[in-house]
Amino acid sequence: MNQPLVENYFRTDKLPHIWCPGCGHGIIMASIARAIDKLKLDKDKVCIVSGIGCSSRAPGYMDFNTLHTTHGRALAFATGVKLANPELEVIVIAGDGDLSAIGGNHLIHASRRNIGLTTICFNNNIYGMTGGQYSPTTPTHDKGTTAPYGNIDKPFDITKLAVGAGATFAAKGTVYHVNQLDKYIESAIKHKGFSLVEAISICPTYYGRKNKKGSVVDMMNFLKDSFVDHKVAEKLPPEKKQGKFLMGEFVNVEEPEYTELYDQIIEMFK
C-alpha cells in the first residue's frame, strides 16, 4: 500500500530518515508536503534550500530541486536562486541555530528585502546535530551541553525578530497543532514577499533529555497545553493566559516583492 503524498513528494528510497524516534522534524516536513500538495505547485518549479543541522537534512528526502548548503547560509543561497529565477517557488528549511544563530543576519536581511522566499524554521530550542548545545532560542535557565549551569541568555522570539526586521508574513505553530501548521505553511507559500513560519519542534534526544522533559509524548503534551492561538488568547482572562505561549499568524501584509521590483528596473530598459 502506498501513501500518495509520500510517493509524490518524497524520495522514498532515502526513507526512513535519520531523525531520532519522536523527533518533531518529520512532522513539519510532512506538513510542508501537504501544503505544497494543497497548492498544487509544480514540483519542477519548487526549490527547497537548507543549511546544516538535523532539520537541514530534510531537503534530501524531498523530491524537488533541493539544495543543502552551508551552516546558516540557506537564505543567502536561496536569495540567489529566487532572484536569478523568480519563477521558482523557493522554500527554505532551517533549524533555530541555523536560522537565528549563525544565519541571523541573512534572516533579517531577507525579511527586510521582502524577497519571495518562504522560510520554515524547525525550532527545537537546541542544536540537535552537534549534540545538544544551547541555541539562541533555548529558554533562559534551561540546560545545554554548553550551558551546564543553565542558560543565562534571553531567547529570541524568532517571529518577533523577523517582524522587527520588516517581514511581511510571520506565523508560529507547533508540531502538535498540525492542522494549523498546515494552514500557516500554506498561507506562507501563497504570500508574495518574504514569509516565515516558526514551527516549534521537539528534540527528545538532546533538549528533552538534558532538560528532563520526559517522553516524546510528554513533550508533545507540553506543546498541546502551552500554546494558544493569539487571537483566542486575547479573549482569555489573564489567569488563563499565564504561562501560555502564543501561536498563529502574527503579520500578513502586502508590500512590493523584491524580484518584482527588480523586474521593473529591467522593464525600464526593454
Partner: protein
Amino acid sequence: MQKQLELRLTGSGGQGLITAGIILAEAALKDNKNAIQTQSYGPEARGGASKAEVIISESDIDFPKVTLPNMVLSLTQVACNKYITDISEDGIIIVDETLELPEGLTASKVIKAPILRTARTEVGKEIVANIVALGLIVGLSNVVTKENLEKAILARIPRGTEDLNKMALQKGYELAKNY
C-alpha cells in the same frame, strides 16, 4: 593474555556501551596497562548503531584503532549486522540472546547470552546491561582484574547507583561461568 587485546562493543545509542568501553580501559590503566578507547560518531549514530572500541596492551599503543578485534559484543541486531564483520580467528563473539548472527563468521567462540534479560529481570533495570556485559566479558577473558574493574565502575557511575551496578557486575560474572 596476548600482548595486545582489541575489543569492540556495539549496540544502540542509549545503551551505555561507550561508557562501558571507557570503564574497561580505565580498569586496564589501574592494572598498569595501557589502553586506548575510540568510538564512532556520525549523524547515523543518532538512534542507530553505536560502536566503542578499546585496545588494551602491556606496551605502548601506537595505531589507535581496532583492526581485527579479539572480542566483539553486540546488544542490538542493527549493530550486530553493521559491526560484526571481521574478527580475529581466535576471537570471541558475544551477542545478546535475542540476536541472529550474520553468516560466515569465523570466530573461535560465539556466545549468545541473556544480557538484556539479566539486566531487566535479575537486576531490575535494563540500563545496566552495559555493566552486565562488562562482567561477562571480564569473567570470560580476565582482560582486567576484577578488583580494578569494580573500582573503575564505581568511579564512573552516578552516585546512589553503586549497589545496582555492583549487582549487575556480579550477574555478569555469573553469566560468564556458563560459557
